[in-house]
Amino acid sequence: MKKTFRSFATMFATILFVTVLLAGCGGQNSKTSNGKDSTSDKSSTAGAHASGTLQQIKDRGKLIVGIFTDKPPFGFVDEKGNYVGFDTDLAKRFAKDLLGDESKIEFVTVEPASRVPYLQSGKVDLILANMTVTEERKQAVDFTNPNVKVATQLIVSDKSGIQSLADIKGKKIIVTKGTTADIYLTKKNPDVELIKFDKNTESLQALKDGRGDGYAQDNIILYAWARKNAGYTVLADKLEKEAPIAPAVQKGNDELREWVNQELAKLGEEKYLLKLYDQYLRSELGPDVNPNDVIVEGGKWQ
């Protein structure tokens, strides 16, 4: 009994020792890096208010962008494991024009509901994740000029018997947490039973498994999905009128917002978004959709 206790104590002491050692190393590292450059130290505390000023991004040598990785064609992972997509490629172009190289970028995967918190806590400079401009979100973050326009619609299973938005009372509708569809239906349709998932892919799987009668989401995603899945129809009625989708920066970061606006205007002259549309969206949406119904070139809203 005593022997086992002793070996236990030795083991415990070893683990403790290693932990302390590692923690010590970590502490020392951060100290030297802080001590080396007192300005960056100061700016990182200021970062609580407005992280990612242009100077900070340049000093750091990379742009940190929150993107989707499960929402084709806007942000997804290609067969080689690279982050690509309409929004993701636009972010790479931003990095190229700001820092001279499109690889000077760090991507952070976000979920719809975590986009605003990521900006609020200053963990990313920019969110380029298909975020629709809404009044509530304007209170929490600052939007640049838009790059896409979108309306929220409902896709229903043909078996559900839903013909129009008037039929959804008492039905089970799937939404992805934190999307405009979630916000709209939660507030305006308390008589609908909402089932909320964290990810777009989970919501689509749940729709396929028949866990709800329909799924409310941005129409571009729904049209693309309906083309590949028979037995589902996108209802023509819109939950809300068309709204702009725009990149977002932390509240008060006017410098970066202004830069993105100028950048979007510049890219508009060379029709860069149309190029991205041809690359990612045209095949998904089909030939019937007019690109100008989807993209907003040059940041000019209507």
């Binding site: 719809p112 509901a113 605003v116 918190p117 609020q120 806590s121 509530e136 979100r137 209170q139 929490a140 947490k177 934190g178 979630d182 916000i183 939660t186 507030k187 089932i195 909320k196 998932f197 964290d198 989970e202 799987q205 749940a206 498994d209 028949g210 866990r211």
Partner: protein, 221 residues
């Protein structure tokens, strides 16, 4: 940082609702896991053929796969095989699956720790193996394993956060939903931490009190 306390107060009823659901799921799961793991230990103790192997397989799968994966498997993969469970049923089944795995090992270690002299004495006075288990081994094993059992109860309670992933409106789901709707990140996170502490701290104290009472008069001390 300014906290929107009015918003937090408005949300209290929803959080109470969520806390009740969390407690309900945890209570069902703990009761079911305890019952199942006791039955499993009867099987293990008597070395019943076939069943014995099945129990081992269950325990190893439960202990060596993450709960989130078990949940996703039950919820998203089974429908393609024609088995469609509601999210509530999925949560209860997946968590009981996990809980049984852990509790079985805890009770088994308790059984192993009962001094061999107890078993020998029982056999010497002519008890059958079933009687031996029922009257001598199992009660002592339970007493020995109480600290570990209670630690696992708390563990299971905390694991309920994972079922938010399949849209069960428990505490974490409620928190993230409100963050998603109103962007009150700090307020909701503070609220969540407070609710969990309010739930777990008293329970933790209660369990240690029960544990102290139950440990009185253990054989050999």
């Amino acid at each position: 940082m300014k906290l929107d306390t009015a918003f937090m107060i408005d949300r209290i009823p929803d959080f109470i609702q969520a806390a009740l659901l969390t407690t309900e799921i945890a209570a069902i799961v703990i009761a079911a896991s305890l019952l199942l793991s006791s039955i499993y230990n009867v099987i293990l103790y008597h070395r019943l053929p076939v069943l014995h192997t099945l129990v081992r397989v269950h325990v190893e799968i439960a202990r060596n796969t993450p709960l989130l994966i078990q949940l996703f498997f039950l919820y998203f993969a089974l429908p393609s095989l024609g088995i469609k469970l509601s999210n509530y049923d999925t949560a209860i089944i997946a968590m009981t699956f996990l809980g049984t795995g852990y509790l079985t090992e805890v009770i088994r270690s308790g059984i192993d720790a009962v001094p061999p002299g107890q078993e020998e004495s029982g056999l010497a006075i002519g008890l059958s193996k079933a009687q031996l288990f029922r009257y001598i081994i199992f009660p002592q094993a339970l007493r020995i394993s109480t600290p570990a059992l209670f630690a696992n109860f708390i563990f299971l309670l905390k694991e309920t956060t994972v079922v938010s992933a399949i849209a069960i409106p428990e505490i974490l789901y409620t928190t993230t939903s409100y963050i998603a709707l109103y962007y009150k990140t700090y307020e909701m996170l503070i609220m969540m931490a407070a609710i969990y502490l309010l739930l777990f701290l008293p329970l933790s104290f209660l369990l240690s009190w029960v544990e102290r009472r139950y440990q009185h008069g253990t054989f050999g001390t």
